[in-house]
């Protein structure tokens, strides 16, 4: 098959959709955190830690759903720690995020050696089997992770704009002092938002691990940061953020196809997603107005 045939094939589309899931989960988690006013660069560490957590439990119990539950819980727990440090302890959000990322990177390797005596990867887990016989596109679209991610995006978009909690969450992100003045418990709303965001990100980490049927050290590979860029490019809105992630994932998938089809050095193509991210950040900053701007209270505490 020529490169073009591969690119327009259903397999490629399925691949893209599958690769979108971790990005999209992290991005939606990021939207939740940042719309409540808390910067979260710990998305990267959250993806990584929840990927390992899900594999550990899935391997021990042979129950993929217990693994998913653990991955989501692990993500929520990291979100909670970040929220408590930032909202309760008034630690700078970037500092807390860096510390959590460092701990996740070190902690996963520590556990990997402790549990499996390996410094690179976990044993194989089955993950979700799904519909084995259907075509790859059908199989991908009926994948529980895909459905759950789609549901999470829809839920967050609906919640932000149609529920009382969502209104309060946005109020905390836009003007925490005003929100507090009208009786909103800013700290509680933010802790809830960041914890929930961590849980969604944890789902993404689980999907990442199940997709490869194992945990690999450092497997998040910068996805958390790219997801954060997607949040910014999308103007802190859930649906556009998910679509931005789809675009990044398409590039990722394209990169893999081109690597198999061309003689270019692999590093040139590996640069593609990162260069695009930088380019996208430049493009959006040119016309930032109206709904595209950052929450005004992002990174600020109520007075």
């Amino acid at each position: 098959m020529s490169a073009l045939e591969v690119i327009v094939s259903g397999t490629m589309l399925a691949q893209t959709v599958r690769m979108t899931i971790p990005y999209a989960c992290a991005a939606v988690g990021g939207v939740l955190c940042e719309r409540s006013g808390v910067i979260n660069i710990a998305l990267e560490g959250t993806l990584l830690a929840s990927a390992l957590a899900s594999v550990v439990v899935c391997f021990a119990t042979s129950n993929p759903f217990a693994g998913i539950a653990t991955g989501v819980t692990c993500g929520a727990a990291i979100g909670l720690v970040h929220a408590v440090l930032v909202v309760g302890g008034r630690v700078d959000a970037i500092v807390s995020g860096i510390a959590l990322n460092v701990m996740a990177a070190g902690g996963t390797r520590f556990l990997l050696r402790g549990l499996y005596g390996s410094s690179s990867n976990s044993p194989r887990v089955e993950g979700l089997s799904g519909l084995k016989r259907a075509g790859s596109l059908v199989r991908t679209l009926s994948d529980p992770f895909f459905v759950a991610t789609l549901g999470a995006v829809a839920m967050v978009a609906w919640m932000l704009h149609r529920t009382r909690f969502g209104l309060r969450l946005r109020a905390c992100g836009e003007d925490p002092s005003a929100a507090r003045a009208v009786g909103v418990d800013v700290a509680r709303v933010r802790v809830a938002a960041v914890t929930l965001g961590g849980a969604v990100t944890g789902l993404g980490g689980t999907a990442l691990a199940y997709d490869l049927h194992q945990f690999q050290a450092g497997m998040s590979g910068g996805r958390g940061f790219i997801a954060l860029a997607a949040v910014i490019v999308a103007g802190w809105r859930p649906w556009p953020a998910a679509f931005a992630c789809l675009a990044f994932a398409a590039l990722d998938a394209l990169q893999i196809v081109l690597q198999n089809q061309t003689n270019l050095p692999p590093q040139v193509l590996a640069m593609l997603p990162f260069v695009t991210t930088l380019g996208a950040l430049v493009l959006v900053s040119k016309r930032r107005a109206g709904a595209m701007r950052a929450p005004a209270g992002l990174g600020h505490h109520p007075h």
């Binding site: 630690v91 500092v95 807390s96 510390a99 959590l100 402790g114 950040l281 950052a294 992002l298």
Partner: protein, 364 residues
């Protein structure tokens, strides 16, 4: 931040951080099924217990000191340079390449400064991209420097492989010329015999003092500090805020590149893929503990150098990654204790931690 925190409360915060990491060490070692007491004595013997161990701590601390000073410099202007990792990597490659290309027999006093200049230029160049994106487009430096870290990995692989800079079949460059090697400290201090500590440490300590002195003693340094505290007010004062932010990040990149003095020029004698990896991120922790004070930066670099060397000392029994967890614990605990102490002293108005978010409020 010097202005909002007294020295004594900073010291207490660091003590809290150390105690927390000590507790974490004991708990994690115990959970792993080893004896905390035995591991602690192993850790001590492997680091400060012998002169060789102490020398290795100094060696490990050297690149951390450079990257710590680099991150601290950008932090003055309110910028988080998470990209020290990539800047150090491309700087090391540049140092290695220039070090091999120099004619043999070049004296040390010429060769080392040349290689160092190349490393700093490469690091600065790598920081120029996020600096321009920040200054011209307001792109958040945490994300752009992170992207540059990933790009550095690919670019270095490309330069070594397709670029033909590596010895065939390896991921390392040729050996640098003897003149470009930074002499080891053992030449002057025979007690450190066998350890890889080099005179790069002396340069690092000097740069910590020089750079932090520039915060107060130069006009640009003062302006950068003020931009970090309140960019809008400085813009009203006709300080070129954009230029200062860009310069801060670029110079920070140069400093991060200078860390190759301790790795390529002072230790290996060639560049290889992954040499010095991790020093960039640990440099962030060094800067957060050192807070713009030279002695603070040196002590913080020694602390994390001790953790790294200690990790190797216990690695046969407990994975050395334990020390990464402890690094995170120290950073969190110090930042938390800072907040609590600030509230206690009744200066709650100024936010704890590094310079306030004046310069970064617009994006993120």
């Amino acid at each position: 931040m010097t202005s909002s925190l007294s020295r004594s409360s900073t010291r207490s915060a660091v003590l809290v951080g150390l105690s927390a990491s000590w507790v974490a060490f004991c708990v994690l070692v115990w959970l792993y099924g080893e004896s905390p007491r035995a591991m602690a004595s192993l850790l001590f013997e492997g680091t400060w217990g012998t002169s060789y161990g102490a020398g290795q701590v100094l060696f490990k601390a050297t690149p951390l000191l450079f990257t710590g000073v680099a991150v601290d410099f950008a932090l003055r202007s309110g910028l988080f340079n998470i990209g020290a990792e990539g800047q150090l990597a491309v700087g090391s490659l540049a140092a290695g390449v220039v070090g091999t290309q120099l004619p043999r027999g070049v004296p040390t006093l010429v060769a080392v400064p040349l290689a160092l200049a190349a490393a700093m230029a490469a690091g600065a160049l790598w920081a120029l991209v996020p600096a321009l994106l920040k200054g011209r487009f307001g792109a958040h430096e945490v994300i752009s420097t992170m992207m540059m870290n990933s790009l550095a990995d690919s670019a270095i692989g490309l330069a070594l492989g397709a670029g033909g800079l590596a010895l065939t079949g390896t991921v390392r460059t040729h050996d640098i010329v003897p003149g470009a090697r930074v002499p080891r400290l053992e030449a002057w201090f025979p007690a450190l015999k066998g350890s890889a500590a080099s005179f790069a440490l002396v340069v690092g300590v000097a740069s910590a003092f020089l750079v932090t002195a520039s915060y107060r003693r130069t006009r640009i340094g003062r302006e950068m500090g003020l931009v970090g505290q309140n960019a809008a007010a400085m813009a009203a004062e006709k300080v070129p805020v954009r230029a200062r932010l860009e310069q801060a990040l670029v110079f920070s990149g140069g400093l991060a590149g200078a860390a190759s003095l301790g790795t390529v020029l002072g230790y290996k004698g060639y560049f290889e893929e992954g040499l010095g990896a991790g020093a960039g991120f640990t440099g962030v922790a060094v800067a957060l503990l050192g807070r713009g004070r030279p002695l603070g930066l040196v002590l913080a670099a020694l602390l994390f150098g001790t953790l790294q060397q200690g990790g190797l000392a216990v690695n046969a029994f407990v994975p050395k990654e334990l020390m990464d967890i402890l690094t995170g614990v120290v950073v969190c605990a110090v930042a938390l204790a800072d907040g609590a102490l600030v509230a206690l002293v009744g200066r709650g108005a100024s936010p704890p931690g590094p310079p306030a978010s004046g310069a970064k409020a617009a994006s993120a």
